[in-house]
């Protein structure tokens, strides 16, 4: 078995992410109630349901077009902060990957990095602003480092998952400086960031499916 990621696997990733979001919908909304406006679960669930449907419509396609489609669908259906952010994340991955039937672990790493850069370009978040960045950036770093250390795809994704979870948990004591939670000032401290929580699910879905 090679470490190449096929479009079948990428399709499974998207569907697994949608599944996890549906499962965690209420939890995400609960987190967003504490320091936001109680819609993060509904937003992503609406978006990922549409994304899965758009993949059904699309039929067989290359890696790039597939992720681009997901990104466009998210932009067009989610709204709020997470729509442009998750949308850009997938759009950038799609652009990097091109219309190919499978990609290498390194190419996947480059795509994830491009996705992260897209999130930063769109949202201007930095480390410790208490956003999805704080879970996603360590995950991308860990994935790249894992490959560099000679790990296979599955193991590198395992490290990424652990890093994302750790990054997500680390948002709890942070004082929010971006997004809606920033309005709370000191009161944002002590709550886990909803976007960091959902992006950790994205990484977990990758670890579950991309092997």
């Amino acid at each position: 078995m090679t470490d190449d990621v096929t479009t079948v696997a990428l399709d499974a990733w998207v569907r697994r992410f949608a599944e996890l979001i549906a499962q965690e919908r209420d939890h995400l909304t609960e987190l967003d109630s504490a320091i936001g406006d109680a819609d993060h679960g509904a937003n992503l669930d609406r978006g990922m349901t549409a994304a899965v449907a758009s993949l059904d419509d699309l039929g067989p396609a290359g890696a790039g077009p597939m992720l681009t489609k997901v990104g466009m669908t998210l932009v067009s259906t989610v709204g709020g902060a997470s729509g442009p952010l998750y949308g850009t994340l997938f759009l950038r991955m799609g652009t990097v990957l091109g219309d190919v039937p499978s990609v290498s672990a390194e190419q996947l790493g480059a795509a994830l990095r491009a996705g992260l850069d897209g999130v930063v370009a769109r949202g201007k978040a930095q480390a410790e602003d208490k956003t999805m960045y704080d879970a996603f950036a360590p995950a991308v770093d860990a994935f790249e480092a894992g490959l560099k250390d000679g790990l296979g795809l599955a193991d590198a994704l395992g490290r990424a998952r652990a890093a994302a979870d750790e990054g997500r948990d680390a948002t709890t004591p942070m004082l929010a400086r971006k997004g809606r939670a920033s309005y709370l000032g000191e009161r944002s401290v002590g709550h886990q960031d909803p976007g960091a929580t959902s992006v950790a699910l994205l990484v977990a879905a990758a670890a579950d499916t991309l092997r």
């Binding site: 109680a38 819609d39 259906t77 902060a81 729509g83 949202g123 709370l184 000032g185």
Partner: protein, 333 residues
Amino acid sequence: MKKLINDPNDVVVEALLGVEAAHPDLRVDHANKVVYRGDAPKPGKVGIISGGGSGHEPLHGGFVGLGMLDAACAGEVFTSPVPDQMLAATKLVDGGAGVLHVVKNYTGDVMNFEMAAELAAAETGANVVSVVTDDDVAVQDSTWTAGRRGVGVTVLLEKIAGAAAEEGRDLDAVAAVARKVNAQGRSMGVALTSCTVPAAGSPTFQLGEDEMEVGVGIHGEPGRRRVPLAPAKEIAEMILEPILSDLPFGSGDAVIAFVNGLGGTPLIELYVMYNEVSKILSKHGVSVARPLVGSYITSLEMAGSSVTLLKVDDELLSLWDAPVRTPALRWGI
């Protein structure tokens, strides 16, 4: 959850059907959830669109009509609309003189409007200028954060910019007057109860019977601090002091004084609040050129109120007084 609704997921769609049925002057693009003027686009007139999450009614759909907005995009409850909606609205109202996007300063709104402007430039070459409102003094202003929220000033800005566009000013001039309104307006709000997002089904935050949240926005988010419930007089002081000292407003200034209900507070209480606000203003030598009392920018059924002061000169006043015919604001016609 006690609401006059059917399926919580259909609230926005069905409310737009209601708006369409109730207001024959307006049209609704249901696919894009855009409310627009029946006579749009008006050739040669600057188009003005706005939009945001739903749950703030009458903002924005109730402000579509002659002398105010040309179109409004309705997002899901408390969720910024998506770029496709703003793009559709921009196309619907572009009469060749360009389109102003009125954006409340929330990360989601700003990013989605930004993407829409990019798409509009690419797809239609429409001349789009965006003005962002950020009048909420409850939020610390800083370049390191998302900055202040756009709240009550948005209503006043849409009226005034709408009048400027209606009298034939060009896009830069309309944008300039809109920026002037935002620069001279400040707001702050207080919540006595939380509200319930239909799709969430339970209140966004829990508030004790003797507590209130000071410095709330319009999305059911908690405010800056939780304090014991206070009489209207103290509440008015609590929110006017930061407003007055921020611009600052001072003796000799004339203002539009806007006492807004957050959705679940009845008019009788807003008049009690207005009385307190008016007393504080006259103590500070600030004169009220025009008052506005009512629930115009709401947070679903939240009980509470926000106050907005806008420092006006003759230009802003005459634009304020110009005819307007929308479901929620109407005079002179």
